[in-house]
Amino acid sequence: MSASSADAALARQTQLDDEYARRHDHAVAMGGEVKLARRREQGVLNARERMDRLFDEGSFIESGLFATSAVPADALKSPADGKVAGFGRIHGREAAAVANDFTVMGASSGATNGRKIAHMKRVATQRGMPLIFLGESSGARMPDHMGSRGMGSLLGNDGAQYQRLRETPWASATLGLSYGSSSWYSVMSDFHVMRKGAVLAVSSSLLASLAVKEEVDPQELGGWKLHAEVTGFADMVVDTDEQALLAIRQFLSYLPSHHQEAPPVAPVPEGSGQGMADILKLLPASRTQVYDVRQIIRTVVDRDSFFELKARFGRVGVTGLARLGGQTVGIVANNPLYKGGALDTDACEKITSFIVLCDSFNIPIVMLVDTPGFVIGTEAERRRAPGKIMNFMNALSLVSVPKISLVLRKSYGQAYLNMGGGRNSDEFAGWPTAEISFMDPQFAVKVVHGLEPGSPGFDEAQAQMDRASSVWDIASIYAMQSVVRPQDTREYLIRMLQVHELRMTRGVGKHLMHAWPTSY
């Protein structure tokens, strides 16, 4: 090559590099230093920082860095069109993500960024990797969506846009004001973490105020307390962006990359099971005393592996992911600390959605039972208790992953079936402290004979009603397969999960609920 042609090649290279650098720098500058500085002052990460913390260091590869608004006049002020997208690794496994950049046109939805989201979804689904949404968006972009031409161009052109078939796990975080599609993707996800101070709602408090002609408080409209305690849309609540991103990484560590593989196996931490010898101390000797079943769960599972979901919603039912001998399991338990463990409609919904999650991603289910039954009364009926109870029951019957049910103390009535009694689990077991019957004998005397404690004939009637409800009787007719000493629980569960491994399908279930609703 002559000197002059080498110079020309170098000049051309430099020119291309310069243009690339100029465009690159403009794109990564997002909505500009003023807006970014304001976020820093508030202790809030920007979209690109969030991506960096979500993925393993150095593993992020962006998709659509040079995308901008499809409206030519907005091209310069819309770096990445307000939604940063790309792929990266989480604990070494590939995942796809979209992070809303609120500094660019409020991360509003437009034609270009809609294409980006669709591409991420397509790749995640076709290649079998989780999809993550980091939500903070003002909703549909105005005025792009206005008018019938705007609607026709921007909305409704993808009939599967809000379809959820649970082929790969979806995780989401609400990290700021989140309206419209940002909210839709969060509530459709398998895991949704919310940062305190963020808001998830259909539309903004401003629009809500205009619609109802009164001042609407954003936190009341869609703050963390509402979604943690009333709607159950928040699986977890955290204080900072960093904690939210860590929570997503942790959640995904329990799940397979897609529905056609078994969940990953983790090393068993040292010290796992060390509290087993004393586990009975966590169960009060008196049947009228309550306790926090989460202490029992934490003692049984691998050390520090219990990842509770929806801790402040439907608290009488505990749901969470954990590991037993390194294997991912889904734990469903009654918590007598709340309402004595009597299942209410919120708990039914919570357990149902958790069963769907476990079954869709090949996670065996362990149920720990201590419930006097379902909450009954007018309020329960108004809240559609029969429908909720049957949704739960139907979900349990459609489970094709291994399910083991262990009765710690009480199991009464229909709740006996819902919590895996009899053939409603693959293995039905009980501690020697278990008591099983149709209803508390005292209530039965009242129902059948109309007698109260202390009234003449009550004691005789109760003696007749008070048939043995001990675990030995049900075990003697083999309607329960095993009686397990409390201190042997961890060992029993690990061994039984090995027995019930889905050998013929390499750990993959049938996913009969893969298209079930994402909320109820």
Binding site: T288, Q289, V290, P336, L337, Y338, K339, G340, G341, A342, P372, V375, G377, E379, D440, Q442
Partner: protein
């Protein structure tokens, strides 16, 4: 200083009041115990605070959602 009521999770009766007005409560402390479904069910102050007022008496019947006490947030 804002305050928030502790609501009854269940329909039942007040079995025992275990905390006193003015007392500082740590997150998870028990304020009173209700009796419902033959069980003794504690009413917990989940986020902690100072107990400002107790709205019920021992033995009183309470319904689900009824305010039982007021705690400073």
């Amino acid at each position: 200083m804002s305050s928030s009521p502790l609501l009854s999770q269940v329909t039942g009766s007040v079995w025992e009041i275990t905390a006193q007005v003015g007392q500082t409560l740590a997150p998870g402390d028990t304020v009173m115990v209700l009796e419902s479904m033959k069980m003794e069910i504690p009413v917990l102050c989940e986020d902690g605070g100072t107990l400002l007022e107790i709205l019920v008496e021992k033995g009183e019947a309470v319904s689900e959602g009824q305010p039982l006490a007021v705690v400073s947030a």
